[in-house]
Homo-oligomer: 475 residues x 2
């Protein structure tokens, strides 16, 4: 089946698709802020209604102990392959609001970009699949395959309720492959499939000193300052060569084969390119590794925020009574988040001076994920990209974490394909996040081609390693 009618339909309805995406983005579904709980639920209801409208049946807003899961499916028939489409409708907070040109939940088109929190991560990307499904159903009256859509509302807080849901619903979620669009292309018109993601672990260190704030005049020089202690701890987490100092931290890190490193050097971005994307002149980190390796095959520890003392307007001459640092680990094969959490706790306890009390909280463990570049599901996605963007995708590793990959691989036993549509300039997780509209429309075409191609995979294709993708993952 060549999806011409679906493509024509999609092209014709682009203005409405954009208007609908803006509606979706207007809903401030911030999962990390308890005050936004109702907004998240409202967004889930909107999404479910939208899935019903485009023609999915069996649409459910499934309550969890946290934010609801939105599920919708449409059956073509028993003999057809089944595609599981995953996305997340929750977003990060918009703060700092002052740095946005237009407000994060007031979607605005400027030039060929749509600005809003979640525009690229992940509402805009998941919306491409919905619009592809709609286009098929509206143009053909049916889909070429069975589809199951699983959209969660807690990705940005580590998906605390999704994995148990997947484990409890293995049968209902059974599929031939899972597709996730929550990653980036290399540049405009240059698609990429990420075949590796780093794992993660969030950590919080709290240092407590005097019972209450002290006047730094009265006690400065005689009382250990919890904020200073915290700085010493954070500073001590890396050595001068950019390596994490937690004892045992690198014990389980895989040293990749020279073949894989060569493949990475050939396909991956240069140091210069990565510096450019980051907007920095100088790079930093572990010697002996390219920047691409540092952000994909090497682990990292980042301090994401510190709160301690008076940091607002003016100056308060105080020794604070406590200080808190929020950190995040990025982990790589074969690091185990729970083991790393324990090493971290032990290390912090070890370096805590007797003059203060420390406590450590770790949460949201995510194991690193690796996907087989040679799986036929990868081929199908590569073909769809080629049709949608006119060029074959590169196979790359990513530095981020998509916790659901482990769950799909292990619980459902399906190959996972990361068919991302984000661009480096999308500013995800930052002020002025946006989605590139020409990419949005091509991505819808790509998803239409993907649905069509997924139907036509021969049994052979399902098992034979791709010939176009020659490199093997060398673990």
């Amino acid at each position: 089946m060549e999806p011409h009618r679906a493509l024509v339909y999609a092209r014709k309805h682009r203005p409405r698709f954009l208007a609908e995406l803006k509606e979706f983005l207007r809903l401030p579904s911030v999962s990390s802020q308890p005050a936004r709980k109702k907004d998240v639920a409202g967004c889930a209801a909107w999404l479910a209604a939208h899935l019903r409208r485009v023609g999915l049946d069996r649409v459910h807003v499934i309550p969890t102990q946290g934010n609801p899961i939105v599920y919708g499916s449409r059956q073509r028939g028993a003999g057809y392959p089944t595609l599981l489409i995953y996305g997340h409708y929750d977003v990060l907070p918009g703060e700092p609001l002052g740095e946005w040109k237009t407000q994060p939940f007031a979607p605005t088109v400027r030039g060929n970009r749509l600005y809003a929190r979640g525009a690229s991560d992940d509402k805009g990307q998941l919306f491409c699949h919905i619009k592809a499904i709609e286009s098929f159903l509206a143009a053909e009256g049916k889909l070429p395959i069975n589809v199951k859509c699983l959209f969660e509302g807690e990705e940005e807080i580590g998906s605390p309720h999704l994995f148990s849901f997947i484990a409890r619903n293995k049968n209902a979620l059974r599929a031939d492959a899972a597709i996730i669009s929550d990653t980036r292309m290399i540049a405009q018109g240059r698609p990429a499939i990420s075949y590796a993601q780093r794992g993660g672990l969030r950590a919080e260190i709290t240092i407590e000193g005097p019972e209450h704030e002290l006047h730094s005049g009265s006690f400065g020089g005689a009382v250990h300052n919890p904020l200073q202690v915290l700085c010493e701890m954070v500073a001590g987490l890396h050595d001068e060569r950019g390596r994490v100092t937690i004892p045992g931290f690198y014990d389980d890190v895989v040293a990749w084969s020279e073949k894989e490193r060569r493949f990475m050097r050939r396909s991956g971005p240069s140091d210069e390119k990565i510096r450019q994307e980051a907007g920095v002149e100088g790079s930093w980190g572990e010697a002996g590794h390219t920047l691409y390796e540092r952000i994909t095959t090497r682990p990292a520890l980042t301090v994401n925020g510190i709160a301690g003392g008076h940091s607002g307007h003016g100056h308060k001459a105080i020794i604070p009574s406590r200080a808190v640092a929020k950190l995040s680990f990025r982990l790589v094969p074969n690091q185990d988040p729970s083991k790393i959490g324990k090493l971290f706790r032990d290390h912090i306890a070890e370096v805590t001076p007797v003059t203060v009390r420390s406590s450590v909280r770790v949460q949201s463990p995510i194991r690193p994920a690796l996907m087989n570049r040679n799986d036929p599901a990868m081929q199908t996605a590569a073909f769809a990209y080629k049709k949608g963007f006119g060029t074959s995708p590169l196979f790359l590793r990513s530095g981020g974490s998509i916790p659901v990959i482990n769950s799909f691989q292990d619980e459902l036993g399906v190959p996972v394909v990361l068919m991302g549509f984000g661009l480096p300039g999308d500013n995800i997780h930052a002020p002025n996040e946006s989605f590139h509209l020409p990419t949005f429309f091509r991505a819808i075409d790509t998803c239409i081609w993907h649905l069509a191609a997924f139907a036509h995979r021969s049994p052979d294709q399902r098992s034979r390693p791709s010939e176009r993708i020659r490199e093997r993952i060398a673990l």
Copy 2:
């Protein structure tokens, strides 16, 4: 003149005095928050009206480029000694509000304490002098001496406009001594006169890295994190022995004579006492010095607050684009704040890695101050304390900074006496600040005695070193 009638009057009107102080404390005269500018002006107007009401003439609210100065005087006659009374009606912010039992600007009596921001620092203390003046005028129809009251509204932000005002008004402010009540007693019923104050300097370090926040998944491990750099800098400001590492920092620090150190050991608080007051079990700081020395004759550098990244609810996986630390120096004879500021700038520039940009702002320089323990003005104050509290004061050094002392000493050439009425448990600069009411009433009595005694100083007393105070300052 025995001030019996004034004392009787003061005792009789205690409930009203308390009610008036609550009125004064209700005005949120926070000098460090621009949004409070009108409230500060309102407080100045209230204070001026109050000075007029108690009988001062020549009361003025004098505008400055910042907050107004409130001035009021009452002349007894040309042959009488003149006392200059200084205080500040501005206060620190109430934040963090959540830690107050009752709100900072809703003065509340609980037990024998009055809780409010400014209750002890400095509204409550300066109010004692006003009530003493009122008591004399109401009971006697006249004061025993000439008084000049000078109340500023910018002490908590380093008095940026007071010193030039004093320099421009030397004649109008001419006096035989200046008295300041903005320090602490040792404990209930145990008065103290501070004869030394540390100087100060506020500093802010800003570290800038990537142009905007980056996703720590995408770039963690390859981009230098400004918040991590800031932690390294702050951590590096002290060595493991608690000494400040800025090159040249200790060059001008006076090594006190063994005699002075003995006097300090005899009169000053023990290590245990200081730990108790701070509410900590372990102390910290420069080896080879008692805690009392560390907080008075030794300089200190305190990080007062850090802002960087996401420190609110939830977690944001970011590499922040900038981070800021606010610090304060406490300086001792003969450190020069402007020299220290330069050393600090040079040091930060020196330790800034090439991967980020740093900038340093210093402000509010205050030179360390030393007062002669043997000056007759000290005697007069000691006599008043003895009358008011039944016991002679100890002569102590303080760790804080009162910037006006230098100005009075240098510009007006008057001896300065710090006759404080605060108590260690007052929680100044912290949540739940309060003033001990029995001390408040005794302090009013003390101020009445002080006015009386100041009138009776013989010419001899004005020049002869006190016999009761045997120790000399050994510079």
